[in-house]
């Protein structure tokens, strides 16, 4: 690959994350970036420092941001890849509209506290950034594109969410400390308490015209179940949740990610017992899950099976009355909110929309790290004024 050297960082190469033509960094852009650009370096076990350059990104999908954190953690922790991040920002000489777009993009990362997520990788986040951006998360300029006060703007849903600190990325573990807590029911409980006590339902009711009881279900139910679901993925040390808005599609986005065992892996024994070999009830007869051997279609079936009522990784008596979390999330996202659910796990992406009972669309989404991503997109009323959102 013929890549530019960075003049002030020895033995380094810059690789660019390519957003869509409009500057949007979607999950698919992350997939392309990691698979076609980063992976070759990761496999080559190079001593080179990669400058992962995101300076072309104007608009972020919050799910891609969270999944990027899990990916970066993997490349540092499991692969030992040396890298630095270059994040977008407005620069002298840019067209005013571009300058604003990149400043907005930078402000987004600051307001959503991307640095909190990066704490999972390094306690000193500055050490993950190129030298020119050491002050990136504590700029002298205010975050004027995503203000949390001083503006009379009760019409903006985004403004309300920002001012109530509901958008920032939340860690479900505590990576800041030596001796950090792993993801625990307690840390999830703290997060649930915050979201439920902040009455997001009132905001959605008043600003989106969503009926009160339905609006309350967003935080009282969808968000809570999505958070609780992280506990079903063993070996997770990272758990992240965030809410955002997509102005172009007029959707409220909730995303939860973890780096635990993948859903197909956890559900495989149950799937095998129930569907492949119902006559063989003993667990010892169930072959172990082989990530490499199973085709995407099979993994999609297993993952889809996990969203059915009563399907849980637990077996026997322990499983009774359980296995409803993903079912409720799927049904309410698609049926109650008329939204879309995306589950990204173990190399595939399942998309549910327009009727939960229908088989989801499945596509390959190769990734070398373990983990799971839920992306819930809820449509909001078209009359909303989303003037702060791209």
């Amino acid at each position: 690959m013929n890549l530019p050297k960075s003049p002030d960082i020895p033995n380094s190469y810059t690789v660019f994350a390519q957003p869509t033509r409009s500057g949007f960094f979607a999950l698919s852009c992350l997939r392309d970036f990691t698979n076609t650009v980063i992976e070759p370096y990761a496999q080559a076990e190079t001593e080179t420092t990669l400058i992962l350059d995101f300076s072309l990104v104007k608009v972020w999908d919050i799910a891609a941001v969270l999944w990027l954190i899990v990916a970066l953690h993997h490349y540092r922790h499991n692969v030992g890849l040396s890298y630095l991040l270059r994040l977008p920002e407005g620069k002298d000489g840019m067209k005013p509209s571009d300058f604003d777009d990149y400043e907005r993009s930078a402000d987004y990362l600051r307001r959503w506290e991307f640095n909190k997520g990066l704490k999972n990788i390094a306690s000193n986040v500055d050490s993950l950034l190129v030298p020119q951006q050491k002050e990136y998360f504590s700029p002298e300029r205010p975050k004027h594109f995503y203000p949390d006060r001083k503006i009379i703007d009760n019409e903006s849903l985004l403004q309300s969410l920002v001012s109530r600190r509901l958008v920032q990325i939340r860690n479900l573990s505590d990576p800041i400390f030596l001796g950090a807590k792993a993801i625990s029911p307690q840390s999830i409980a703290d997060c649930v308490r915050y979201f439920q006590s902040e009455r997001i339902g009132d905001i959605l009711n008043i600003q989106c015209g969503i009926e009160k009881r339905t609006a309350d279900l967003f935080s009282d139910h969808l968000l809570t179940e999505a958070l609780m679901n992280v506990q079903e993925h063993p070996n997770a040390t990272i758990g992240l949740v965030a809410i955002s808005l997509m102005g172009n599609t007029k959707e409220l986005i909730l995303s939860v990610v973890d780096n635990g065992d993948a859903i197909p892996q956890t559900i495989y024994p149950r799937y095998y017992r129930d569907l492949k070999s119902p006559e063989k009830r003993q667990a010892e007869n169930i072959p172990s899950y082989n990530r490499q051997a199973l085709p995407v279609e099979e993994k999609a079936k297993i993952t889809n099976y996990a969203t059915r009522a009563g399907v849980t990784r637990k077996m026997g008596m322990e499983s009774q009355g359980k296995g409803m979390g993903l079912t409720y999330i799927k049904n309410d996202t698609v049926n109650t909110f008329k939204g879309k659910l995306r589950i990204l796990t173990d190399g595939l992406c399942l998309k549910y929309e327009g009727g939960a009972a229908e088989d989801p669309k499945a596509e390959g989404w190769p990734h070398s790290w373990t983990g799971n991503l839920l992306r819930i997109a809820i449509p909001i009323e078209p009359h909303l004024q989303l003037r702060d959102v791209k």
Binding site: S123, R149, K150, I152, N154, S160, S163, R164, R165, D174, I176, F177, L178, G179, A180, P185, Q186, I188, A189, V192, R193, Q196, S197, E198, R199, D202, I203, N205, I206, K212, R213, D216, L217, D220, H221, T224, E225, M228, Q231, A309, G321, K322, M324, G325, T327, Y328, D332
Partner: protein, 594 residues
Amino acid sequence: MAKKKTQKPVIIVDVAVEDYKKLSEFGFVHISDHSWAKESRNNNGFLLLLKKCDVNVQGQERIHEVVISVTRPVDNLESYFEYFATELQRDASKILAKTSEPPIFILNLMPFYLSITRMDRILKALFLGKLNIRDGLILLMVRNLDWVLKSSVFQDICTQQKLPLSFFVVDLRCYAKRFHKNQFSDFEIPQGTFQYLLDINKTRIYNSLVFGTNSHIGHYELANSHVRTHYDLREFIARDNVWEYLHKFFLSLVDEAETVLFIGTGIERDVIIRVGYQLQTLFGQRYVVTFEYLPPLTAAENIDTTLSRQNDAVIVFTDIVNSGNTLQPLVQKLVANNSEHKPIHIFTIAKMRNSPSEIEGIKLNAGLTIKRDYYTKRPDSCKLCQLGQPPVKVKEAEDFRQVLPGQLTPYDFWEIVTDSQALLRKQKDPQGRFFSFRIDTHRVVRRYGHWLRNVIAQRFAETWPNTRPEVICTVEEETGLTFASLVSEAIDVNKIVSIPRRDLRRVTPGGGLPQNTKNPFDGVSRVLLADDGINFGNTMSNLIMFCRAAGINPMGAIVLDSRLDQRATDGIRVQMSRSPLVALYEWPTRSSHL
């Protein structure tokens, strides 16, 4: 033999507060206050609630309270509620043995933020298990009734006809559903019903703000005044009883108006907007409600007076009023544009003792009056300026949350000691040593624990960045444990190891741990010592020695106050291989003088 006819029993069933921690291990989330706990509510309100549900109650019913704690070990939520159901069955049987009347059960789950999967497990244990209360009526109280109605287990229970004869579910938002003889109907109970159930006594609400809410103490310079304290209204207004208390005020101000403009203004923007939204949601079904938030310093410039003229009434509300000067221009403009003499009201969540009773001739309605004064901006009239207390310029609510490097200042320390009545004179300590002056830590923590937590968290973060102890170690005495608990809450470390005094006395540098003493630090590498105060340093020295005998070098120590001079402090630090010793307050006098 037929049982004697007696009063209809109403059995109120609660989960014991001491079980909340156990339940939280299963992802069961409780609210952060005790609004719904047995001792903080009015049980007659339950009868009113039943009436609002059209249940035939006469007011003569006998109310029984059953608070259930599951003492046996459980490893999941289902097991907990299975045992809960068993305990409930046993307690209910005792009550029902004395009556032939069908019972009314009220199961209070209001203190919990649940989810549908959590509700599945509760309902399964209660209705598909051993509990047999089919003859009575059950009223289930939850924060969101859709957790019940959307539960697949609940749908199974309905299909299997395992619900009691009459079943009601009511939620905090006043939505309700009735199931009776396989028929069901939706209804709503009147807004404000919970006012009669929760304790909205003014003194209780006041104590809840001043002593039960996270607070900050300092010298805060606001635009028009100087103040000493700030309370975290964000946490305060999220409490159910506080909201009912405020709701009552707002309801009285709205009175007969059909269209109301609420203008929220104040430095606690998040709080104001939250209240505004809640009012819109609450009153929106009965009145036409408009809500505007205006930043305090430019509110008068930005108010749209056509909006105020279009409504039957205007209610200006704010977080805290000190001098009233910030509100004055806004109110003045509203009054000047009120040619039709429509009602204009002002409401503040709290005001100070010396705040004005009216602004521009309009009564200042206050939820609470804080028993403190505000000071004017003139340095000669501000006691805090005169005493040289380090000032914080407040431009936004976040500025209140700072702990300055100089805190606790002597004024901070002695004010909290005096206000808590915690200065003990001429008394012995638990070790029998006589002191001219001693501090009652328990009293200080009871009154000012919230603020001290902030100070501890700040000092801890400065002294030990990016690390956290696995264990907090203290002496097994009430004073030490009180402070250690506060430290554990401040830095979020759950494990406290307390060492009995007799073990501390027996530990020697050359002898390892005392005989018959187990090492409490097995598998632990980071221990933080905590004690309420250091007088001569003996207890702290012994705690360090105990840790070292157990193979641990403490990462440091934190105490509320220290009477040691620099040399003695260094001596303690040397024992810990120069690890830090943090005292929130250092007495200026040597211990031998006290």
